[in-house]
Symmetry: C2
Subunit: 218 residues, 2 copies
């Protein structure tokens, strides 16, 4: 599958590598695609001939799936740079969180409570079929859910487009082996998963690892 | 044990009844203790001779443990009515959440992100040994954790006083059979568990039941 990965940070690079290993063609979107802006990015491109570097706008043009894998403070800028019209009809996985590190650690949220970044992204690209998911686990768990708790834990997702959500579930099950999804409803439910971040950060500190997830038990 | 239960709503009444059944003497604190202000409260008092009704201030006087079981919008008023000095040295379980229903359902939070109700309560009663816990499960799960997932799920807690946290863990293990606690740290960690409420509410809607909890898997 031809996948646009918007973001070349730790998460975007790790996801791109894992998808390339599984046979996907990944176009990494970045601000200035004339040359890799980091050693890690140059190394990734050197290792995988099926990963290429393009501008945000070029990355989404022919993409069958778009993944927004960028810090929350840049998410809306990246949507604008990619071109909201170019996203019309495309499934967009939004795994960003609105973390604000300007007041130190642990970060606060730059938006919460009465709105969410997921809603803002959907509003900025009204024709995109936004699915908010993967934002409640780190990239190691995203790509290898069986690595914690034998894969018996839940991935939350939400979005306005039912078909897009089913498509993303099938994609994550097939590519990474995700077994259990909990569909919370429309994109306003992103308030729930984004506001879980403060708890996630504190559980991480208590456990001493980022490699965990939660299982809903009843 | 002589327990002050501050709050006579659904949660306070249910907790009082379960504790009375286990042999505790429960003093329910309320605004006007001259007579029960609801049928449900009158019935509860009629059923249990070891549950009595007192003013907030009278309830805490001889209490060995104080439980703040009231809606977040009244929590600070109740602390003021109980008398912050009377809480000096006492272990206080804070299970309140700052839910704001003034804009409809699902509720938003009246405080979050840069502070928490738990921190405000600790600040209002600086001598109290506040332990924030039980606020991430409904009252049925609080009092019967084995009723969901065979009890294999986690109770988050936080607070500034290590001894108080260990005391509360032992109390909840002995009274209700709680098996697994996750101590997140000091009272500022209440931001994490209170901000989990928006997700909890959406998971509840998706599952169609309030009787659930999460297990952290790694």
């Amino acid at each position: 599958m031809r996948i646009a990965m918007l973001g070349t940070g730790i998460v975007g690079r790790a996801l791109a590598a894992e998808l390339a290993r599984r046979g996907d063609e990944v176009v990494l979107g970045t601000r200035d695609a004339s040359q890799p802006h980091s050693e890690e990015l140059a190394e990734l491109l050197g290792e995988h001939s099926t990963i290429t570097l393009r501008s945000f706008a070029d990355a989404v043009t022919d993409a069958e799936l778009v993944v927004l894998a960028i810090g929350g403070d840049h998410a809306l800028d990246v949507i604008a740079a990619a071109g909201p019209d170019a996203l019309d009809g495309k499934v967009l996985i939004d795994l960003s969180n609105p973390l604000d590190f300007s007041n130190g650690y642990p970060p606060t949220l730059s938006v919460c409570n009465t709105t969410s970044l997921g809603e803002q992204i959907q509003a900025a690209a009204p024709g995109a079929r936004v699915v908010k998911t993967l934002n409640t686990v780190n990239v190691a768990v995203m790509t290898d859910p069986a690595g914690v708790g034998a894969g018996e834990h839940d991935l939350f997702l939400c979005g306005n487009d039912e078909g897009a959500k089913r498509h993303v579930e099938a994609f994550l099950a097939e590519r990474f082996g995700w077994q259990s999804f909990l569909d919370l409803g429309d994109i306003t439910m992103a308030r729930g998963t984004e506001m879980y971040m403060p708890l996630w950060l504190r559980v991480r500190a208590a456990l001493g690892t980022s490699n965990f997830n939660v299982r809903v038990v009843r």
